[in-house]
Structures are given as C-alpha cells and as structure tokens.
Amino acid sequence: MHYSESWLREWVNPDLTLKEFSKLLTKIGLEVEGYENHILDIAIPPNRGDCLSMQGIAREIAAVLHIPLKKHIIPSHPAAIEDVLPIHVRSHKQAPCYIGRIIRNINRHAVTPAWLQERLEACGLNCIHPIVDIVNYVMLELGQPMHAFDLNSIHREIQVRLSKSGEVIILLDGSQKTLDNQTTVIADATKLLAIAGVMGGADSGVTSQTTDIVLESAYFPPADIARARQQYRLQSESATRFERGVDPTIQQVAIERVTTLIVEIAQGEPGPLINRTHKTAITRKKQVTLTQKHLEKVTGICFKNKDVDSIFKSLHFEYQSMRHGWRVTIPPYRFDLSLPEDLIEEIIRFYGLDQLPVQVLKGVLTVIPNTASIGTMSRATGDWHILRQLLSDQGYSEIISYSFVEKTLQLALNPNQTSFELSNPMTAEMSVMRTNLWPGLIQSLLYNLNRQQNHICLFEIGTVFFNEDRSSLAEHPRLAGLIAGSCFEEQWGLQTRDVDFYDIKGHVEALLRHYNVLDQCSFIAETHAALHPGQAAGIYYLNQLIGKVGALHPALLLDLKVTDPVFVFELDLKLLQAIPIKLSAISSFPTIRRDLAILIRETVPTKEIQDTIQLAAGDLLKSVFVFDVYQGTGVPVGQKSIAFALILQHGARTLVDAEVASTMERTVALLEKTFGATLRNG
C-alpha cells in the first residue's frame, strides 16, 4: 500500500527523513519497497490489517521511536435533521456493529478538493465522486471501510442478513453474482443493496444526481468477508481490510469523521446516528499470558523485565506484570496477536533481531536408517549425481525444464498416457503435467537449433506425473536424453559425422553398465507413436520395461520443422534404482578367444544370433561380442556378414583344445540349423 508522507506526519512527525522512516519500518517488519515523491510503498503482511491506514503506520512509527501519537479529536456531529431509516440486523454474529446515518440535501455540484484528491491519488486510489472519495479518504486514514448508498434507491429499510440461495446482485464493477445462502448481504425490503463489506450494488450507489445518502459504518467478521470475496472472486479495498480485521471499536468515530468532511465539502444535513451495535457480539478483549521462560526458550536469551515492559508500553499494550511473566490485554485492532509466540514476535521486532545472540545447536549423533522411503516421502539419493557426471562426461548438458508442457506435444510424444491438466494454467504451452521428459528436451532442442547449435546433447532428471492405475497418481523420477546433429563439434582432428541410433544406445548401455545390469537388460524392437518404427526399442530388465530409446518419428520431426534426425531415450530411475547389484565370481583360469564370421540373412537381429550362440556354447561362453558387420562386395544381396568374438573360459580349470573345438562346431551347426547361416571364408 502507498502512504502519503504529509498525511503520516499529521499523525506522527519525528525529525526524520523519508529514507530514515523507511529503514525504520523495514526493520520492524513493514518492508518499504520504495520511497519516492513523498510516498512510501510498504508491503503490509496479510496479518497486519491494522497497518492498512495512516493511523496504523503512524502507530508503529510512534512505537518504535517511543514517541506519542498525535491526538486527532473527532467530534460527534449533532443531527441537523430528524430522519432515520429502519435498520434490521438479523444476526449479530454477521454484523456485531452496524451504524447508519442519513445525510440529506447534499450539494450535487460539490467537487472533491484538490488536497483530498492528491492524497487519494498518492495512495493509488482514483477519484470517483466527492462522497465516495471522502469515504475512501477516511478508510485510508483510520482503516474503517464504509459505504454510501443513495437513499432514494432504498426501499423502506435496511436489512443486514444472510443471502438466500439464488439471489442475484449486479455489483459496482458491473459483474453479476448469484449468491449462495451463506453470504452476508445488505438489502432493503425488496432487493439486495450490497455484498456486505465486499462491494456495493450498481443500483444503490451514489451518482452525480444523488442528494440524499445513507452512510454505513460497520464491523464484519474477517472469515465471512474472506469467504465471500473468494467465493465470488472479488477484490476491493474494503474486503482487503475486513478480511484482515478492522478495529471493531472505531465505527462511530469513522462515521463522524466522514460526516464532518461531507458537511465541509458537500454541505448536506446529517441525521442522527442509527446504531445497531450489539455489545456482547463484539469479541471480548483478548488476554495473552507470556512467561519469561517461554520467551527465553524461543529467543535463546533472558530478557530484562524493563526491556519488555518498555516495548509493551510503546505499543500501548495494557499489561500486568506477574511473578514469571506478563498478562497482556491485546488492543482491539491487533488481530494478529493471540498466542504467547505472537507477543514474542512483538518483543523481538522492537528489541531488534540483530541484538539476539547466536548459539550453537546441540544434538545427538544419530544415523537415520537408510530406507528408501519414509511414509509418503522418499529419501533423496546422491546416486543421481553419478548419473549426471556420467552423462556430462559423455558430452550431455543437463537442462531443467518446466514440469508443465503443451498438451498436443505431450500427446504426440506419449499418446497412451493421459496427462493431468491444470485448471488454471499460465499459458497453453504450460497446461498439462508432463508424462515423460521428452517435451522439455525437444523444446530445448528447438531453442538451441534456432541459435545455430548443430551438436546437441541434452539430458534432464525430473519427475513425471501419471495415473498408475485408475485412481492413484504416481510421480516417478525419470532420466531422459536427446542427441541430434553432429557427433562431435567440427574440428580438424576428428572426422565428425551425424549421430545415429547406436550413439544414443551406447550412452544408455553405459548407464546400465553403471548399475551393472546391462547383461540382464535387453533392447527389444517396439513401436512407439513418437518413434521411428524401424529405430525404436523398449529397454527391459528381465521382463520389466524400464525405458525406451529410439529415433524421433520423421513425421513428428516434420511437424517440428527439424530436418536432422533426433534420438531420444528415457529411463525410469525408480525402477532402475530398485534393481539389486548382482556380482559374479571372476575365474582365474585363462580365457580363449575364437572368432566366428558368418553369412546370414540381413533381417536376423544380432540379439537372436547371440542368443543362439549362447545356447550352443553353453556355460563355457563367458562373453560374446560383435567385432564386424559388413554388407557389400563379396556378400550376397539380402545377406550380411557378421563376425563374433567368443570368449570361452572354464570356472575351475584350464580349457583343453578339444572342448573348445567341439564348442565351436556345435555353435556353427546350430547357427546353420537355425538361420541357414554359413561360415564366411577368409
């Protein structure tokens, strides 16, 4: 809120510059965000409704400087006319205090004086109509929101009551609201006049033709106003104050102040006050007890009684000193104080936080058992650091992208998973929760392609959101990567080439190798809507799908206007992490390598050939790897030459030539039988 310097100085005028004012206020928790042109911009915390007025801020300044607040005598205005209006407050719980007053014969041609205009505008309010301006002025000055109705629009009486379900009102801002049955409203005998404390109706407000008005100065409980404001999505200066709490003892002073100003500025003849205040309905004065011990336990120091006394005094708190503490009567305007902790905050706020001591936190050395999850929480793991390092070493840059993405892109990248859609997204590009990490990677790819980067290698570790089964929501940590463009940066010493499937597959295999699970994992050709049907694989650990790898579908690339192939992978870290490390014994006996080059139909997957070799060679086969794949001169069309190295070893003794030879023979025979493969000569 903005505060006018000259206005504040009418309440408290120490010999301080505006800058010093602002430092002082910031120090006591009323953060000054700007102090230019004799205007203070203060961020008032939501619990400090009492500070939303000149009087309120002045009170704080006076307290911190230990100086008195200037007295403003507001006389009660004698009635010039006798006119009254019946006011019925149906439930005093909804309006413990309600004061009205009729003022007749207001000068229609009166204008808001310049000094008042200036102050309103300094505080960020527009000038609307002299009566409205005066009401707003007093609100800014004292903190009491009030309302002026055009008397001629009111039929017979004023009722303060709960709304009936389905009642409709058109408000001052032009919006039409259909009410529930829990809203406090101001009505007359036939229609609604206002949503109490929030906003007046369009038909009952003052206009340039208005000569007779009814003023309303009331206290409405914060919770009711907060509910109504949120229920009907309204925003008003009045509601802001009521929902934070308005001093329930100032309604009469405020209405008198408004009356004085109206008479001064727009003439008019005030009637008597119509006071419907229900004394017992107003909250009794709160008392809070604070013990010395409590104060010490929270702050870490033992305060001197006189220091605390002096702070309470400067805040105008009535208190009784007791043997071990204080019993404090909370002023009616301090809605934020109801617990001893609240008083402690007041004490340290004025004592100075920088004066508090610094002490070392003591504790027992304990180790929390290394369980993966505690209740609905999971333990953060350092494991991912290694994955990050591994990928970074392979040239990947880590990105962080938004968890909400564009719906169509997400759907294109993962059509089988329904994504959670936000009710109130920021933009359409951020409307659904990601079900995989590819949208963010692709966005980053496009961003970097547009900036002439032609060697792109990105990864992200983050949460994806999906329905695990019909009802339950799952959040899984995933790791995904994307590569595109050249394999290396262009340079003299390395023949660069475009990346392909086997680059990214190699990176994935390296990750799986880190978990020592590569041997138990298989890449199975699978179709996926977002991936090239001929270059896509599901990554399986035993029979469990733990990830995917492949080339993005050319049709998708066309949509994205990307000309080069793009390769992506994704791994579910939750599943990957759950896989136990499996060790096998290392044999100390020598290994024997035998190479095997065969001619085979080009469509036979390497994995199948390897499985067949494994089957034929049996336990002696320690490992097998491909060291050459060739098609071209010398190889019949439709066939490929593929060369395997078989590493044979016995766990308990040295192999003999004969068993190596027979193993190889068996292998060749089975390959021939299964695939019609032939040994390649030479």
Partner: protein, 338 residues
C-alpha cells in the same frame, strides 16, 4: 700393409662415415673375419718369436683404437639419427586437441547438491515429498486454512480434482513430522510452483526447506545455523541481517538478507542489490505452535524452527546471474559454463 697406414686409413674411413650402415661396413672391413686387421694378425706367426709380442701388443692397441673410434662414431651417428627423428616428429602443439565433447551439470543442480552436502554434514536427513499436493498439506496444516488471506500471497495452480501443485516445500515438513519422531533435522529440496511469470518470477522454481524440531531450537540457534550454511554455500564470509516478516506457519517469522555478493555490500552501482548493499535470500522462523500441534509434536518439550529458501535465487547470487529465466531457457552456451 703397415699397421700405421692401416690405422690412418681406418680412422679416416670411420670418421667420414655418415650412416650406421656405413659404419658397420667399416667395422667389417677392419675388424671382421676377413678384415684388414685380421689379415695383419694372421701375419704375426710369420714373425720372429721375439718380435711377436710387441707386434701383438701393437695390433691389440690398434684394434682397441679402431673399436673406440667405431663406438664414438656410433654414438654420434645414433644421436644424429635421434635428433633427425625428433625434428621430423615435431608437431604444432598449438593445434587444439581432439574434442570428444564435455557436457555440464545444471547450476541449480549443483546448488542443490552443495546444500544437500552441507546439511548432511550436520546430520540432516534429506527427504522428498510429492509435487502434486493436497490442500491439507500445502495450506491447512501449515496454518493457512481456507480463506486465509495469506493464500493470496501465492497464486496456486490447481487440478480439476482439487489437488494442487505445491507452492512451497514446507508441505514436506508436515509429512516429516507425521512419520518421524523428534528430535528431527531434515531438509527437503524440490520444485515448487506459483502462478507468476515476469523478470523475477518463473512459474516453477526450486526451494529448500529446513526443519529442526528439538529442545534447543531457538532463534539463537537458528541464527547460528543459517550463518554457517550461507557461509558454506557461498564459500566466503557473509554479512547476515535479520528482519521481522510474516509467514502463516512460523511465529516469529524472519526474513534474512545477506551483504550483496556482487558488490561486496558496498551498494555502489549494483544491478544485483540495486544499491542497497543487501539482498534477500530466505525466510525462516519458529514453527507456529498451531503447526506443531496439528502434527502432534509435544510442544511442552520441543520447539522447532524452519527455513525456506529459493535455490534458483541463491544460485543467481552465487554466480552473478541477473536474469532468472536464463536458468530455464537451457541455452547450451549458457549451461556449458558450469
């Protein structure tokens, strides 16, 4: 041939060779089985017995001489040869090395890992909670019941089923207090979301939540902890200033400023602290008694303090990054600097 002449010839021949091969030929020529010197040795037998000894000695001497010359020449030639090889093999070491690519770890991740390490050193457990939260954990149990004005402080993303994207990692402290017994020291780091997008706000950012529930959790111990952590994180002396503030889930609530990292608190023309010399880094406070009671913590015995800090902001301060959005644009030219 006379020994003298032979020696002269040999010395000349050896010294004028230019290659190892020539030298080897010389050796064969003079010392080999059919070499000149060998021929002379064969003549010793024809000499009278009293001359034989002297002749033998002379021949031996000559042989040693020749061997010495060959050896010296050999070393010389080998050295020359090595020198030539080295010259031939000399390359332009100013050409860049082969670049197989080196990636990078995101600066925010690095901050997260730093903070995690700092707190784990002090015996804190690091926990993660869900990002899609319910109203209960994100607001109500944090002393922000429905219609509380503080809800307006954070514009929240909602789902049609009433769930929401957590606006603060504080939601995890509620879960921590539920599943773990005090004394408790935990941190939780993760993504949080608020409907806000401008120069200094992105709709998603990262927070760290720190919670201590203990008998001696006081403002004084909170001050000490924060000082330690901030100095460890920024790896330097840090001036710290506390201001009263308001959060619904702490009472008293404080805000913490540190002397500006960019201008060393001097406050001269500085885009980071805008000439104030201080920058706001986090909020904290004593856990509100309502929060503790709702979590069934024995408030007679224990108190708690909590800290919430924006990691993105800490990262920006640490590296002098001026635009928050650059953290999430993922420009590789930016990322590769970390």
């Amino acid at each position: 041939m006379q020994l003298e002449t032979l020696l002269q010839q040999a010395e000349h021949a050896i010294k004028s060779t230019t290659s190892i091969q020539d030298l080897e030929q010389c050796r064969v020529e003079y010392l080999g089985k059919k070499g000149s010197l060998t021929e002379i040795i064969k003549t010793i037998g024809q000499l009278p017995p009293d001359e034989r000894k002297l002749a033998g000695q002379n021949i031996n001497l000559a042989k040693e001489n020749i061997e010495q010359w060959i050896k010296e020449k050999s070393i010389l030639l080998k050295n020359n040869q090595l020198k030539q090889q080295l010259e031939k093999e000399t390359i332009d070491i100013t050409l860049p090395g082969r670049d197989t690519g080196c990636g990078s770890i995101h600066p925010v991740t690095q901050s997260i890992e730093d903070l995690q390490r700092i707190f784990e050193q002090m015996g804190f457990i690091s926990l993660e909670g869900p990002e899609i939260e319910d109203d209960e954990h994100n607001f109500t149990r944090l002393n922000t019941p429905p219609f509380h004005p503080a809800r307006a402080m954070q514009d929240t993303f909602y789902f049609p089923n009433g769930l929401l994207l957590r606006t603060q990692t504080s939601a995890v402290q509620i879960r921590a207090m539920k599943y773990m017994q005090p004394p408790l020291r935990m941190i939780s780091i993760g993504r949080v979301y608020r409907r806000d997008f401008d120069l200094t706000h992105t709709p998603m950012f990262h927070q760290i939540e720190v919670l201590v529930i203990d008998e001696d959790a006081t403002l004084a111990t909170l001050k000490h902890l924060l000082t330690q952590v901030l100095q460890a994180f920024f790896a330097r002396e840090v001036t710290i200033q506390f201001r009263p503030s308001y959060f619904p889930f702490t009472e008293p609530s404080l805000e913490v400023d540190i002397g500006c990292i960019a201008c060393n608190g001097r406050g001269t023309v500085c885009r980071v602290c805008k000439q104030t010399g201080f920058v706001e880094v986090l909020g904290c406070g004593m856990v509100h008694p309502h929060v503790l009671k709702m979590a069934d913590v024995d408030t007679k015995r224990y108190r708690g303090f909590a800290v919430g800090a924006g990691i993105d902001r800490l990262t920006m301060l640490k590296y002098g990054i001026l635009d928050l959005r650059s953290l999430f644009e993922n420009d590789v030219r930016f990322l590769k600097q970390f």
